[in-house]
Homo-oligomer: 346 residues x 4
């Protein structure tokens, strides 16, 4: 099965940190050996430091790991980070500089021109920015790789399928995002029970800029962003897990409905441990996708698309769904690490 890597989690007690612990429980390549969290938690066993909010119990393998402060050195080969953006920038750089591959779920470095912003199936070749990054920042063995905002992950894959074939010109996206995306305690129940909350701080700009980098072309001068425009309105809804994106897209060349569906379905998955069998599942059931029924498709790593129809202003409309803390966060980070191993960067 090959080498096993010792993994450290930054922000281990948060909701994404917990997902890391859950997803890595029986992973063939990774074993969690270090957990770092805020000073309040440091020094306690993980089982005590962490208010576990996922179904079931804390995985046995991490219960007794003593939480450390968030600073290098850590007893591990790779670092997964789910730090809040307020502290991520400085801390992740410190880890990279200390020689750790940093696989980050934070927003801090996503748009830096020398940092890969990866959806492994879409732009895996962007990992080659790592060389540029090491040179520019003077990192030796370490580096930083990021995965996108959880809402972007829901619609960027079908967009990628259309963009590579027909060219995308403009995209309207309206998101209905799950409460787990805000962490814990996160969204107050008084704000979301019997309610829709029309504002997620900082979210709309992120959703509007990240897809162009992900779908951009890697050149000698770096990533040339894809030349389409995204307009985003983002809402919080009363759903535990699973972000829904309502999408209209204008293409640069004409495509039939059959073409559109076929391109999405044909977009290949990868042959890595966390890759789902189907990357983009397109359903023609009129009432799908639904967060409750579809978020766990492909163990939470499949993007489910439905209601693909011609639009009367743009070319097509569709609804896309992804599991925001798996594909939209911890799961994508793990997949990125698997990709980096397969490409020899780790």
């Amino acid at each position: 099965m090959g080498r096993r890597y010792r993994v450290g989690i930054l922000g281990a007690t948060g909701t994404v940190g917990q997902r890391f612990a859950q997803l890595l429980e029986d992973h063939p390549q990774f074993e969690i050996t270090a957990m770092a969290a805020s000073d309040r938690s440091a020094g306690k066993p993980y089982s005590e430091a962490c208010a576990w909010k996922l179904s079931g119990r804390i995985p046995a393998g991490v219960r007794d790991i003593v939480v450390t402060p968030i600073e290098p050195p850590m007893d591990c080969d790779i670092v997964f980070s789910s730090l809040p953006s307020s502290v991520a920038r400085e801390t992740e750089e410190a880890f990279a500089r200390a020689g750790y591959p940093v696989i980050s779920n934070s927003s801090s470095y996503r748009m830096d021109e020398d940092v890969p912003l990866l959806i492994a199936e879409i732009n895996g070749e962007h990992v080659r920015l790592i060389e540029r990054q090491r040179e520019k920042r003077g990192f030796d063995r370490g580096f930083i790789v990021t995965n996108p905002n959880c809402a972007v992950v829901s619609f960027a894959p079908p967009l990628a399928a259309l963009h590579r074939k027909f060219g995308v010109e403009s995209v309207f996206v309206t998101t209905m995002q799950a409460i787990s995306g805000a962490g814990y305690p996160g969204v107050a129940s008084l704000d979301i029970t019997d309610n829709v909350f029309p504002y997620i701080a900082g979210e709309e700009p992120k959703v509007e800029i990240e897809a162009q980098k992900i779908l951009g072309s890697l050149t000698d001068g770096g990533v040339v962003k894809a030349d389409f425009t995204v307009s985003a309105q983002c809402f919080r809804v009363n759903v535990v897990d699973g972000h829904v994106a309502s999408v209209r897209v204008k293409l640069r060349s004409s495509a039939t409905l059959e073409d559109v569906v076929a391109e999405m379905r044909a977009f290949p998955s990868l042959d890595l441990h966390s890759s789902p069998e189907t990357f983009i599942e397109v359903t023609d059931e009129p009432s799908r996708p639904q967060p409750k029924l579809d978020r766990d498709n492909g163990n939470g790593m499949t993007i489910t698309v439905g209601r693909v129809f011609p639009d009367n202003i743009f070319d097509y409309r569709f609804v896309a769904l992804s599991h925001n803390t798996v594909r939209g966060a911890a799961g994508s980070a793990v997949l990125n690490a698997e990709l980096l191993i397969s490409k020899g960067y780790i």
Copy 2:
């Protein structure tokens, strides 16, 4: 205070029928004297026939009204209809033919060229279609007037404000609609708890066509529809009352953000009993409008708009909210009746 009218409710036991009963409880012009519902209910006192689902108790004035079958004659001067569209067409015509003004919340006649589709503040002059209707259909004193789909009501008012000043060219709307919009039993809890439901049967086409008629111009030849296009994606969310619309709009002439907000705020309300003080309330709080907090603005008759910003593809984006069973159904019908009285049609 002037004359009082005796009112009959068709579909009296449904969720909209119950709203009629609630809204008319202390109305200065109307008094409910007749309640009609399906054969299953006919013959029973309303308090027995009706599974009351609104806060509080069945209004004392209607508890003992014996429910009748849905057919003329009824013991009343005006008929409010909230019949399911499957039976509305035939039944409402029968009542109009029998001489009753029929103020309908059903979709059956909304797009008929001789039937007014009214939002009283926007296109009250369309009531003049009634003459054409009577002539064409051979109605004597009776007629049919309709109010729009509940989702349309949330965004048509701000659109009207922009259209009359700047001209609207294209509109993308994504709705997040409340469960009360589906009636009772309506949406199964298993379909909406911890979920977003991406399909509402027949809704998207209605939302795409009704606004053009409402904002159309009355000419000698009838209503000339407004020449803009609406693209709609409609979702059900876990909210009891209050439809939210996420909107982007492309205008025909340029407008500053201040212009846009000012036009919405300046759109006048009417001087009728059910008119809210403010027809369109525009808020600049970043996290408003919210169904839980804003649906009851203006006793449920105010449209609340927020998050008005320039859009990066179209001209502007905003979020609009209305109470779907008050402004979006029973309340609008009552307001239409008040308008028709003020204009001498009743």
Copy 3:
């Protein structure tokens, strides 16, 4: 209409503070003239300091009141307190010592033997403890009066009705409590969406001891507690407002079902502004009371009881409901102030 009193709110920006603002908006006897909150809020106008979470807008009359620190003197005749218990004890005493009548919703003084714990309809005569209190604590004109825990308020009234006639011996109560009871931000949405939360810190002991004092007899030596035992299990459920209590009661003397219902219905309301027409409403509809439908009965001041049946272990079982932030908090405090005025204490 008599004299108007100037009222100050301690903890004005919290969920109960907001209810005070809402309930006093058009009150004939009270006018809010002062708002106190934490240092973070002090110095700002209420409209800015307060994240308003109730339906509708901040009442016009309080929008511009500048929030002050929570310490005497305050520009008012009466103080309503909804301070967290951690600070209430010291602060409320300071206000009482400074001469203010303190009508408190906090738990700090509820069980002090010289402090009235009031449900105005049940034990209004306990206000006479004020003399004892002034003497003991050396208060001059000021005093402290409290209202009970919000969960207690739901079942103490029907219990009082049974106790005065038949004597209560033992009571099992299981509560299902609304999220607003925890304040804002309060319950995290991740803890309550698709969930029941089986623990409310400190709640079960409060629910087990307060009713005996409320139903106790005032003697020269103070309140002799009623000699029954309450066993409480308390749960948080996904409801915005309205606490439900599932109750079994063992009586000291025999009573028919008709007796039990009749005693509850016969328990008199008061003739004060905030008194509901019916204090205890008993319904025989099998599926009532429900928080969504019954919490606003009597403007949130009526206790609604249903499902009164013989029990197969104890004597009777029933379900009781009250609005936790109105009758269970701000509304009861306002009613207590009205009572104190009527009895000459204010």
Copy 4:
């Protein structure tokens, strides 16, 4: 691995029928070969007849099974029934008479003196009633075995642990039951969003009588019911899966808190495929059990108990939780079938 049995599902398209399909997907002993449902569904492939409401897709192995009417013969060795009680009595007897072992989740036969009402870990020896049943009803090879009401399953196991050691005298139970327990469409969202529903038709009597039979002793004359009394109040809450029971228990002999917990923990699981590793898990975390976090413990087959404390009226109180459509329905039926095979009845 031993023989594989061909299984037929009665009521295959309902929520419990769907759970059967899900749980049997990779079962080592069972393979679904027949699906029966109402006439409306008969003749269609299962994937078309069934509105699948569980996470993920319909298992591949059953998608194409053509649904048959609900009558013998069926192409299978064993029949699992989740028929509504209105049709179960007659139909299940017809299948038993036709020679099928009928493992039923319906309430029809549960209290018949010759029909085992099984929780496999508790009263597996009651299967010996089958001989009596065959004799009395003239069944040849067929028979009927039942599992309890889903709410009973949550508290009967900890009760069994206490009863066999200390004797149970009286039990108060208040249930908070999930919406999936009512099937589909089942509970209307308008009845449960922002609400607690205090009535479940027919539930309280079932909850009050079934435990005594389950914990009863098998004698030559049949099952002698356990001599304790259960008082039940049953509520529906807004939870997808997982019934919560709030319990107080009075014992016949004294027991320390440690004894009580130890007896629950010591109650053995079985060595069957669907048995969980731990039958009764007792947690001392103050805020557990929770439906969202604990319903899937032991793949939905573990009973989770928490908040075990001395009670101030009875001896002890605790909170118990089970997954209502797994342990409370389909999972228990499957376990019963495994038990019957191991005992040679199938």
